[in-house]
């Protein structure tokens, strides 16, 4: 069970958790998500909050609902690529932010990163 940060909207954190499971392959394209009640019990979160996360994920095209059957992961290949890209952008943005707090400019950070990959190999 993930620990939620109470300073960030909880439905957002649930959306991130589900997106993360899609990117990592734990949830497959076309696969079914747990019911709202099941997930509410797993996460110990108000079911209204889970329902809201599902609604928002659907609005973003990441999941879809089949009436009377439940919620499923989108089968569009683009969705998966977009999710991965968004996540990558977040990680890279965080990298530059952290480096800048150490006093490195973007070019210097990039140069360091390049050196690092040489040392580490691929």
């Amino acid at each position: 069970m993930p620990q939620f940060d109470p300073a960030i909207p909880i439905y957002r954190q649930i959306m991130d958790e589900i997106s993360g499971q899609i990117i990592s392959g734990k949830l497959k394209a076309g696969g079914q998500l747990p019911s709202v009640r099941e997930l509410a019990q797993t996460f110990q979160v108000n079911p209204n909050t889970i329902a809201r996360a599902y609604r928002e994920l659907e609005r973003e095209g990441i999941v879809f609902t089949r009436r009377g059957q439940g919620t499923f992961v989108s089968e569009e290949k683009e969705t998966f690529a977009n999710l991965k890209r968004e996540r990558a952008e977040t990680i890279i943005g965080g990298f530059f932010r952290d480096m800048s707090s150490l006093g490195f400019r973007k070019q210097e950070s990039l140069a360091l990163a390049r050196e690092f990959t040489k040392e580490e190999g691929d």
């Binding site: 509410a40 019990q41 079911p47």
Partner: protein, 232 residues
């Protein structure tokens, strides 16, 4: 949107003390609402008014469109902060007695909840710890099908395990969209993921209210920190 509870200019005076002054609020159907505020801010008074146990000095309290009173009692399950069960009864006897008072109490569900709360039906009420007593009160309230559930400080003065069990039972038993729950509490951090709306009361007035996740976004803060900031 249909409202479960409404207050119009709701005012309650006890002698010279003004407990609530001209409160206006609307609580939509199917939400879990946290009622927050320091002692003496009017939380218990507000719950008792909606439960129809006391009458407003001015204004009105409406439950599903009807004035709170004898007629609305079957629609509202109210759990007071104090221990109201008979000491000499067993857990099961208390459950059967509650069924006589409340026709909407589902005995099988009560038995299931009592087991989940790790209480034995044969235990004497007088022998229960504070935490066990709180768990029993909640089990009996959650076993009712009344559309409105009012809980006055269900988490206060009890051990962390009992608080955990109570919050778990609330989330698991809650009927989304249909049931409206208001719980007053000081244990904000522990219950952050349980409620979806918040009401902040201070000196008998509503100082802030709204959707919990929207408030987190707007203020970049947890509800607990917001609570500390408002009442510092």
């Amino acid at each position: 949107m249909e409202h479960a509870l409404r207050a119009h200019n709701l005012t309650k005076r006890y002698g010279h003390t003004l407990a609530l002054c001209g409160l206006n609020l609307e609580i939509p159907k199917g939400k879990i609402v946290a009622l927050l505020g320091p002692n003496g801010s009017g939380k218990s008074t507000l719950l008792k008014l909606f439960a129809g146990l006391i009458h407003p000095t001015a204004g009105e309290a409406l439950v599903l469109g009807e004035r709170a009173g004898v007629e609305t009692k079957s629609k509202v399950a109210y759990v007071p902060e104090f221990n109201h069960l008979y000491r000499w009864q067993t857990v099961d006897e208390a459950t059967r007695l509650a069924m006589k008072f409340f026709s909407d109490l589902d005995y099988e569900l009560a038995q299931k909840l009592i087991a989940e709360m790790q209480l034995e039906p044969g235990l004497k009420i007088g022998s229960l710890s504070k935490g066990m007593h709180a768990r029993l009160k909640l089990a009996l309230a959650l076993a009712r099908t009344a559309p409105v559930l009012l809980l006055d400080e269900p988490l206060s003065g009890i051990d962390p395990q009992s608080r955990r069990k109570i919050l778990t039972a609330l989330v698991d038993t809650y009927r989304p969209g249909e049931q409206t729950i208001i719980l007053s509490t000081h244990q904000v951090l522990e219950s952050e993921a349980t409620f979806d709306q918040v009401l902040f009361l201070q000196d008998g007035e509503l100082v802030l209210w709204g959707d919990a996740d929207e408030l987190r976004r707007e203020h970049n803060s947890s509800i607990e920190d917001l609570f500390a900031k408002i009442y510092q």
